[in-house]
C-alpha cells in the first residue's frame, strides 16, 4: 500500500505507511511526540536525541516525515540540522520536515530562514492540530511531486513548466508555486525573471521572504543600492530575519563597505550565533577590516559551534592561527594547530594549510629553520596537487615573500590570478601583498600579465561564439583552460561552447565526456555558482535531443 491512495474520489493518507523520525533532546518530549503521532496511526517511528544521530540515521533509512525540535541542546539546532540535510541532499524535497519550537519568537527565526521547514508548530499543540497540518503538507507535496522530481533530476525547464501548470490550475498553491519557481529561476541565473516574479508576489502582499528574494535578485543583477534599501526596510520591520543580515553583508561588500558588512554580520550573529558559515564570514570580513579581536572570536565560535558539522574545514584553523599570529599570540596559534590536528592531517589540503600556518608562526617567533622547513613542505604539497581555497594560497605567497622567496611567491600569485582573473577582491588582496613588501610595481605588472592571457583568450572566444563559430571558440577556450585549469568562469564558458558546438554539429560522445568533466571541475572551484545548474540542465537537453537517457 502506498502513502497516499484514492478512495471514492477522495485522497486518503495511509498513516500506517508513513516512516517518521522524531528528534528532541528531552526524552519526555520524544515519547510525548511519539504518542501524539501514534494517536493518528503513525506506527513506524524512530527517535533521535541530537543532530548527529539524525545525520547518521537518514543515511540508512528514507523518512517521509522528520519532526524536530528547534532546540536540540549542545551541537546543532533544528534549523542548522535542516540546512545540512538539504544542502547535502540527505533528504529529498518530498520529505516533510516540521519544526517544533517552544515559544513564539524563535518561530520567527525559523519561519523567515532562507531554507524554511515545511511547517512549524509552537509547543504545546494538540494531536489534531499536528494531524491536520501534516495532512495539508502531504497534499501539497503530492501536488508538487512532479516539479520536485524534475528539479532533483536537474530538469529545470521542466520544473518551471510544472510550476506554471500549478499556477494556472491550483489557486490554493499559487504562492507556493511562485516561491519554488523563484528559487529555480535564481538557480538558473535568470535574475530579471526572478525580480519580476518577486514583485508579483509583493503586489499581493509584502511577505518578508518575497522581499528577501527580490533583494537577492537585485544583488545578483548588481543593483546593490536598491537591494540595500529593501534589506534595511525588511530589517526595520522584522529584525529577527537573520538571512536578511547575511545578504546585507554581501551587498555591502559589493559596495566596498567593509565596516558596514561587518556590522550586518555581527547583528546576525547576535540573533543566531550557531550558524558556522555566518561566523566564518564574520571572521573573514573582520580580518580584512583589521578588527582582529572580532575575527578571532568569530573563528573560535565557528570551530566551537561547528563541531561535527561538515561546514568546518582545515582552513578555519589556519585562519584563526593567522589572526592569533597577527595579534602576537604565537602560543595560542600553536595551540590552535594542535586543536585542529584531526582536520589538518586528514587531506593534502589540510596538510598544506597546516604547513603554511606553521611557517607563519615560526617566522614570527624567529625560528627561521623551522619556518623554511614548513614552507618547503607546503611547496611540495602544492606540487603534488593540493589546492586549498585561494585566500589561503595568498597567505602562502605572503609567507614566501616574508621568507625572501620572491620567485616562489610570484609563481603562486600568478597561479591564483590566472585562475581567478575576474575576482576583484582576490586581485586586490594580492596587490596589497606586493605593496606591503615594497614590490608594488612588480606586483601590478605580474597580475596584469597573469590575467591578460586568460582574459584575452576568453574575449576572443566570446566574439567567435557570437559569430556562431563554436569550433574556433572552443579551441580558444581549451587553450585558456590549459593556462588556468582551475578558473571556474573559463571552465563554465568552455562547457557552454562545447554544448553549443554539439547542438550545431551533432553529438560527440567524447566531447560530452569532457564537458561533463569540466563542469565537475568548475563545481569544485565554485560550489553553488548560479550557472552550474543551467549548464547541467543544458547537458541534459543536448543528450535528450540526441536520444541519450542517463540517470
Amino acid at each position: 500500500m502506498s502513502l497516499v491512495s484514492a478512495k471514492n474520489n477522495e485522497i486518503v493518507i495511509n498513516y500506517g505507511e508513513l516512516r517518521a523520525l522524531v528528534v528532541d533532546d528531552y526524552p519526555g518530549m520524544r515519547s510525548a511526540l511519539k504518542l501524539t503521532l501514534s494517536n493518528f496511526g503513525v506506527t513506524r517511528i524512530d527517535l533521535a536525541s541530537n543532530a548527529t544521530e539524525v545525520l547518521f540515521k537518514v543515511q540508512n533509512t528514507r523518512y517521509d516525515l522528520i519532526l524536530s525540535d528547534f532546540n536540540l541542546g549542545e551541537g546543532q539546532d533544528g534549523q542548522q540540522l535542516l540546512e545540512e540535510l538539504r544542502h547535502r541532499h540527505l533528504i529529498s524535497l518530498g520529505t516533510v520536515f516540521i519544526m517544533v519550537t517552544a515559544e513564539a519568537g524563535y518561530e520567527k527565526v525559523v519561519a523567515t530562514a532562507e531554507l524554511a521547514p515545511d511547517d512549524y508548530l509552537i509547543k504545546p499543540f494538540s494531536a489534531e492540530l499536528m494531524c491536520s497540518r501534516l495532512e495539508n503538507i502531504l497534499l501539497r507535496k503530492l501536488t508538487f511531486a512532479k516539479v520536485y522530481g524534475h528539479f532533483e533530476n536537474h530538469e529545470l525547464e521542466a520544473a518551471i513548466k510544472g510550476c506554471d501548470e500549478i499556477l494556472k490550475t491550483r489557486p490554493k498553491y499559487v504562492v507556493d508555486a511562485l516561491r519554488f519557481k523563484g528559487e529555480v529561476l535564481n538557480a538558473m541565473g535568470r535574475f530579471e525573471e526572478a525580480e519580476a516574479l518577486y514583485r508579483q508576489i509583493i503586489e499581493m502582499r509584502a511577505i518578508p521572504w518575497a522581499r528577501l528574494g527580490l533583494a537577492r535578485a537585485l544583488h545578483n543583477l548588481k543593483r546593490e543600492e536598491e537591494a540595500e534599501e529593501i534589506l534595511r526596510d525588511i530589517l526595520d520591520q522584522s529584525c529577527e530575519m537573520v538571512s536578511a543580515y547575511d545578504l546585507l553583508a554581501e551587498v555591502r561588500l559589493s559596495r566596498k563597505d567593509g565596516p558596514g558588512a561587518q556590522e550586518a554580520l555581527q547583528k546576525g550573529v547576535e540573533i543566531s550565533a550557531k550558524t558556522v558559515r555566518r561566523q566564518q564570514r564574520l571572521g573573514e570580513v573582520a580580518f580584512d577590516n583589521g578588527d582582529l579581536d572580532t575575527a578571532k572570536q568569530a573563528y573560535n565560535n565557528a570551530l566551537e559551534k561547528g563541531r561535527n558539522s561538515v561546514f568546518v574545514t582545515a582552513e578555519d584553523y589556519g585562519h584563526l592561527c593567522r589572526v592569533q599570529v597577527e595579534q602576537g599570540d604565537t602560543n595560542g596559534a600553536l595551540e590552535t594547530l594542535k586543536r585542529g590536528k584531526h582536520l589538518l592531517q586528514a587531506t593534502p589540503e589540510g596538510q598544506f594549510v597546516g604547513a603554511v600556518a606553521r611557517s607563519i608562526v615560526h617566522a614570527r617567533t624567529g625560528n627561521e629553520s623551522e619556518a623554511e622547513k614548513a614552507l618547503d613542505e607546503a611547496a611540495q604539497l602544492r606540487q603534488a596537487g593540493a589546492r586549498p581555497d585561494d585566500r589561503f594560497m595568498l597567505d602562502f605567497a605572503d609567507a614566501c615573500m616574508a621568507a625572501g622567496r620572491a620567485e616562489q611567491a610570484d609563481a603562486i600569485v600568478r597561479d591564483v590570478a590566472r585562475n581567478a582573473h575576474d575576482s576583484e577582491s582576490l586581485l586586490a588582496k594580492a596587490k596589497r601583498l606586493y605593496e606591503k613588501s615594497g614590490r608594488g610595481d612588480v606586483g601590478e605588472q605580474l597580475l596584469k600579465d597573469a590575467t591578460s592571457t586568460v582574459r584575452n583568450l576568453n574575449n576572443e572566444a566570446v566574439i567567435l561564439a557570437h559569430k556562431g563559430n563554436f569550433a574556433a571558440a572552443m579551441e580558444k577556450l581549451r587553450e585558456a583552460c590549459w593556462e588556468a585549469p582551475h578558473n571556474p568562469r573559463i571552465l563554465m564558458n568552455t562547457v557552454w561552447v562545447m554544448l553549443k558546438h554539439m547542438e550545431q554539429s551533432g553529438m560527440d560522445e567524447a566531447l560530452m565526456e569532457q564537458a561533463r568533466g569540466f563542469l565537475l571541475d568548475a563545481e569544485k572551484q565554485a560550489p553553488g555558482h548560479g550557472r552550474l545548474a543551467t549548464l547541467r540542465a543544458q547537458i541534459k537537453d543536448v543528450e535528450a535531443r540526441y536520444g541519450i537517457r542517463r540517470r
Partner: protein
Amino acid sequence: MNMESMDLYAGLMHELKNNLGLLAMTIDGIPVTGQPEHDHRVDEARLLCQRVIDRLQQALLIYKARHQSITPLVDAYSPRDLAEELRDTANSLARGRLHVDVQFADGVPEIWFFDRNLVEMAMINAIHNALGYAKNLIRIGVSLQEGMLDISVWDDSGGYPQHVLQAFADRQPYRATGTGLGLQFAKLVAEAHEDRGKVGELRLSNQDGGALFSLRLP
C-alpha cells in the same frame, strides 16, 4: 516592579506553560475506557489543562506586546484549511458534548495573508469561551466582508451579557483575567494585521440568539 523581576515571571510562565503542555499530552494518551465516570473526569482534566495553557500563552504575548508591539509574521494560508483546523480542535475539545459545524461562504479566496499562529490562538480562545456557554451548537464561519476575511465563532448560548458588549464598545479597560484577557488578546491580534491602510478589527455582537465573535483581517 522592575524589568528584571518581570523577566523572571515571564520565564516562569513560559516554563509552566511547557510543563502543562507535557501534562496535556500525557492526558491525551490515557485511553478511553467506555466508563462514563472515568472518561468524563479525564475529559474535564484535559479541557482544563488546555485552557490554562492557552491562557498562559496569551498572557505571555500580551506581556510582550506591552514592551514591543505584536508584529505579525504574515504568509499565505488557506482559509479553508484554517477553518477545518479550528473545527477539528473544537471537536476534540468538545468531545461530542456539542455539535460543531463550519459555514464556508462562497467567494472566499483560496489563499489569504495573515499570521496563522496568532489568528489561531485568538480563535481557539473564542472557541473555549463558546464551549463554556453554548447549549448544543458552535458554528465556525468564514466569509468575505467589506473586502476583509471574516473568521467567526457563533454559539447558541443566548448571547453576550449586555455589560460585556458595553465594555467592549466603550473600549473600557478589560479585566485582566478570564474572558477579558482573551478579548484583549484577540483585539491586539486583529489590529496588528494591516495592509495598505486597512486595519483588522474584532467585532462582538449578539445574533440569532447567540454570541458572535468575529475577527476581520485585511
